[in-house]
């Protein structure tokens, strides 16, 4: 996984942040792999920006449907972003209302290797600055 560059102000803080990200990635990966292995997704991380269409808070996996901006003037593309079981996520404070239809969001994902508009979820940041999942 490509490491996100952290603040350079304190070496210790960077190290802790790196460990935190590794742990969160592990947690994220574990949550995703609960039902099946995630071999279809790339280890590389990518950011997409768009509008929430739907949050399927379901077993065996939650799915976040996002309308992602493509080229200016072109229609958005619907992405399917896979996350964990609502049983686990619910115990960590995620709710059906976490991703509201119409909300603007930037998401960090592991996209499908073959370029299909599907991915594994890492983290998200909303317009008001609040974050969900793994986001340093």
């Amino acid at each position: 996984m490509r490491m996100i560059v952290l603040s350079r102000t304190a070496g210790v803080r960077r190290w802790i942040g790196g460990v935190f990200i590794a742990c969160m990635a592990l947690l994220g990966a574990q949550t995703l792999a609960a039902h099946h292995a995630g071999t279809m997704f790339s280890e590389e991380m990518k950011e997409i920006t768009g509008t929430i269409k739907e949050f399927q808070f379901t077993n065996p996996h939650s799915w976040i449907q996002v309308m992602v901006e493509t080229k200016p003037g072109a229609p958005p593309q619907e992405w399917s972003v896979e996350w964990g079981s609502p049983n686990q996520l619910g115990r960590r404070g995620i709710r059906p209302s976490t991703f509201k239809p119409g909300a603007k969001v930037t998401m960090r994902i592991h996209p499908m290797r073959d370029g299909s508009p599907a991915a594994g979820f890492v983290g998200a940041k909303f317009a008001d600055g609040t974050t969900v999942g793994s986001w340093e």
Partner: protein, 266 residues
């Protein structure tokens, strides 16, 4: 009168033995628990890179040559995303001992005549009879996903044996594995488990798996479970509710379905 009292005591003692441990002597296994570590069955064989997603370096269970070849084949299939893990079809139970190796929550419910291991994922129920009944005779047993489990208490430890689990030379036949690497057992497998609460935070299951058809020696695997905060809720698990990762029966590949039900990718 004295003879009658003694007789009553004898009857009561026998009755309590037949019913299993008395309630007062049973340990407290209350709470909600989560397995420690990933869903590789034998954590001792996983490296820092090993686990569900990556091959890593692993020692093998003590397979004989024929079953080692089966496992090698399964590992190659896994590397190509062509291992048709039965859990992906949301159809059949995980079975034993895989149900000791699941994500999500566990509960260990102790009663005098039975102990139940409940897994949120699945869900699964393992019933361990402690009322003195033996395993049925071989001609009266048939393979099931969770098998037949009978046990007894040794102090605070539940010792139980499990027979007649639905194992086979998967995936050429049958549909039970131990984890996503395609670890398999034969239908001759016998598992002896020592289950106890080692401290306030930890449940431990020490398993010894004997398999005269597949192994050259017994295989020891230990799983631990960490207690969750008080008030943790356990939910149902409708695997078939929205399964967008079914297995393609013809290729063994795990698919990803779009919101319209169509398959992503090639």
């Amino acid at each position: 009168m004295k003879l009658l009292s003694m007789g009553c005591v004898m009857v009561l003692l026998t009755a309590s033995q037949a019913l299993g441990q008395s309630r007062d002597a049973l340990p407290d296994w209350s709470g909600v628990w989560q397995m420690v570590g990933g869903t590789v069955f034998d954590r001792a064989t996983a490296t820092s890179q090993g686990g569900v997603l990556t091959p890593g370096l692993r020692e093998r269970p003590p397979y004989n040559a024929a079953w080692e070849a089966i496992y090698e084949r399964n590992l190659k299939l896994r590397d190509q995303n062509q291992l048709p893990d039965p859990i992906n079809t949301c159809g059949t139970p995980a079975g034993f001992p895989r149900l000791m190796n699941l994500p999500d929550m566990y509960e260990f419910v102790v009663r005098p005549e039975q102990t139940w291991i409940l897994t949120e994922n699945g869900p699964n129920v393992l019933r361990i009879y402690t009322d003195g009944r033996p395993h049925p005779a071989p001609e009266d047993r048939w393979p099931t996903y969770t098998g037949d489990s009978v046990g007894k208490w040794e102090g605070d430890t539940l010792v139980f044996t499990t027979l007649s689990t639905k194992h086979s030379q998967w995936p050429t036949e049958g549909d039970t594995v131990l984890d996503r690497t395609g670890l398999v057992l034969s239908d001759a497998a016998k598992v002896t488990t020592r289950l106890r609460r080692t401290d306030a935070q930890t449940m431990e299951a020490q398993m010894v798996i004997e398999d005269p058809k597949a192994f050259t020696a017994p295989w020891r695997v230990t799983k631990t479970y960490r207690v969750q905060p008080k008030g943790t809720r356990v939910y149902d698990y409708g695997c078939a509710e929205n399964n967008r990762n079914p297995v393609d029966a013809s290729t063994g590949k795990t698919l990803i379905l779009g919101p319209d039900g169509k398959t992503f990718g090639k």
